[in-house]
């Protein structure tokens, strides 16, 4: 069943006073329970697409449907996880995780019950009363993921959440992310610039062209889980995506 449908999404940027077409008509469908990774040359607008899906930006043309209803504004049914986490430094870890619940007016005891569950899932229980600056970058991204999961969103939108992590921490979180996905059965759209990350996580990898971006191909990866970054069985997929991206990256280099 179609969870999210992108219909001819067009978005312009302002560049040196000139309008620059970043998204040139994006069409694809995300099924309920999909783990979709978006890859493409840098600057192709994949993060912009995610923000449009979150309702944080408006497309210039086209629309995105969530459960057949057009997205008009942002809301907690589509929770975004930001590259740098965007955790609030004035709140303790638990209060960060409970932020959206508090906004929704959920009473304290119930909030604690929910946050306890996700703090435990993300192995953050003993950091519940820490401030975010006391945590490592990896721990902070766990908090960001917990903060998103407590909202029980229809879709999780993740914008390069592991880009700033060291390789070991990232490999660990890649495995955990798959377990979370299997456990919660969430629909996830995950933007990454790492081809290997996309093949480990995604059951679909959506390859964007250079701007004005369209969808070049959607690669399906039906492979056992949990997959590891070093799985050799993923290499053919990585090669395929790499070959798809190469001319796009070249086009990007030539256009600058």
């Amino acid at each position: 069943m179609a969870k999210l449908e992108a219909k001819n999404i067009v978005k312009y940027f302002e560049h040196d006073g000139q309008p620059l077409k970043a998204l040139g008509g994006i069409n694809f469908t995300v099924e309920d329970g999909d783990f979709v990774c978006l890859v493409g040359p840098s600057g192709c607008g994949k993060s912009t697409f995610l923000r449009i899906a979150a309702g944080l930006q408006k497309p210039d043309e086209g629309q995105i449907l969530l459960d057949n209803r057009p997205i008009t504004k942002t809301g907690p049914d589509r929770i975004m996880v930001f590259q740098e986490g965007a955790l609030f430094p004035w709140l303790k870890v638990r209060d960060n995780v409970e932020f959206g619940l508090k906004i929704a007016g959920i009473p304290e005891s119930e909030r604690h019950e929910i946050s306890d569950r996700y703090l435990d899932m993300m192995q953050l229980t003993k950091f519940a009363n820490s401030y975010t600056y006391q945590l490592s970058t990896g721990m902070r991204q766990r908090v960001a993921i917990a903060r998103a999961l407590v909202m029980d969103p229809e879709i999780l939108l993740m914008d390069e959440p592991f880009a700033a992590l060291d390789a070991q921490t990232r490999d660990l979180l890649l495995v955990e992310m798959q377990m979370i996905w299997q456990k919660t059965k969430k629909t996830i759209i995950f933007v990454t610039h790492s081809i290997s990350e996309s093949t480990v996580l995604g059951n679909k990898v959506v390859v964007f062209t250079h701007r004005p971006s369209t969808i070049k191909k959607i690669v399906s990866i039906d492979h056992k889980r949990p997959r590891l970054a070093e799985d050799e069985t993923l290499i053919p997929y990585q090669k395929e995506i790499s070959l798809l991206l190469r001319p796009e990256v070249k086009a990007k280099e030539n256009s600058e």
Binding site: T74, I79, M80, A86, F99, K102, I103
Partner: protein
């Protein structure tokens, strides 16, 4: 370390009093121009015993507190409004910069015309002194908020009043403290300056009485009280608040 720095401070102040006493003993200037530390201490003592000092301090502090509280509420509201609404910034924003350059006490004539020689007039001067420092720092603070903080909060459903109280104000708080520190200092100058002109209770009034009676030890005594209150408020309230917030954010 802390004890050592405290020792230095004490030694410094003792040194000042000794030099002061020595100058008095040397009799460079007559006593009615340059009082001895003893004269000043005696003046403070009498003031404390007959209660005029406490009434003066209490009156000035109440005016400061009332004016500062109004300036904080108004300054935060105005600062957020300027930071979030482009038109407000382009119009009111430019005026605020100009208004901030007016010394607090320059509002006193207007206050006297509008409010007469009343508490309200002095509080008006205090608000006028403190308001724009709070406004400008709030504006800068809100403008400096990581846009992802606001996007994340809106994404989680925060809007309107919740966005302001749960995200904009706490996120801008390190800047707000700077605004408070500047604002109260301007406000305090406003209070004392206005009291000099209004001659209506308070420390500035006592200072003026000292001048009218040519009682130089009272003048100096009141100046010392005004300064000490400044040190105490800054050190006890604002420095602590700042340290606490900085520590919490991991900035220190």
């Amino acid at each position: 370390m802390k004890i050592k720095s405290l020792g230095k401070k004490i030694a410094f102040y003792v040194g000042i009093v000794l030099v002061w006493q020595a100058l008095d003993v040397a009799n460079v200037w007559p006593d009615n121009v340059f009082p001895s530390p003893y004269d000043v201490a005696e003046d403070l003592w009498y003031g404390a015993v007959d209660g005029t000092l406490w009434i003066g301090i209490g009156t000035s502090l109440w005016r400061l507190a009332a004016g500062f509280a109004l300036a904080v509420v108004g300054g935060i509201a105005l600062g957020i409004f300027m930071a979030r609404v482009q038109t407000v910034n382009e119009t009111i924003g430019s005026v605020v910069l100009g208004l901030q350059s007016i010394p607090s006490v320059a509002w006193a004539p207007l206050a006297i015309i509008w409010f007469g020689l009343t508490d309200a007039g002095i509080i008006f001067v205090t608000v006028a002194g403190a308001l724009f420092a709070v406004t400008i720092n709030t504006y800068t603070g809100v403008k400096s908020i990581n846009p992802d903080f606001i996007a994340a909060a809106q994404n989680m459903g925060a809007k309107g009043e919740q966005l302001i109280t749960k995200v904009l104000i706490p996120a801008a708080f390190p800047y707000l403290i700077t605004g408070f520190k500047q604002g109260w200092a301007f406000g305090w100058r406003g209070v004392v300056g206005a009291e000099l002109l209004f001659s209506f209770l308070g420390l500035g009034f006592l200072l003026n009485v000292g001048r009218q009676l040519s009682d130089v030890s009272q003048v100096i005594a009141m100046m010392i009280v005004i300064m000490v209150i400044g040190i105490v408020i800054d050190g006890l309230i604002f420095k602590r608040l700042e340290d606490k917030v900085m520590a919490r954010w991991g900035l220190r």
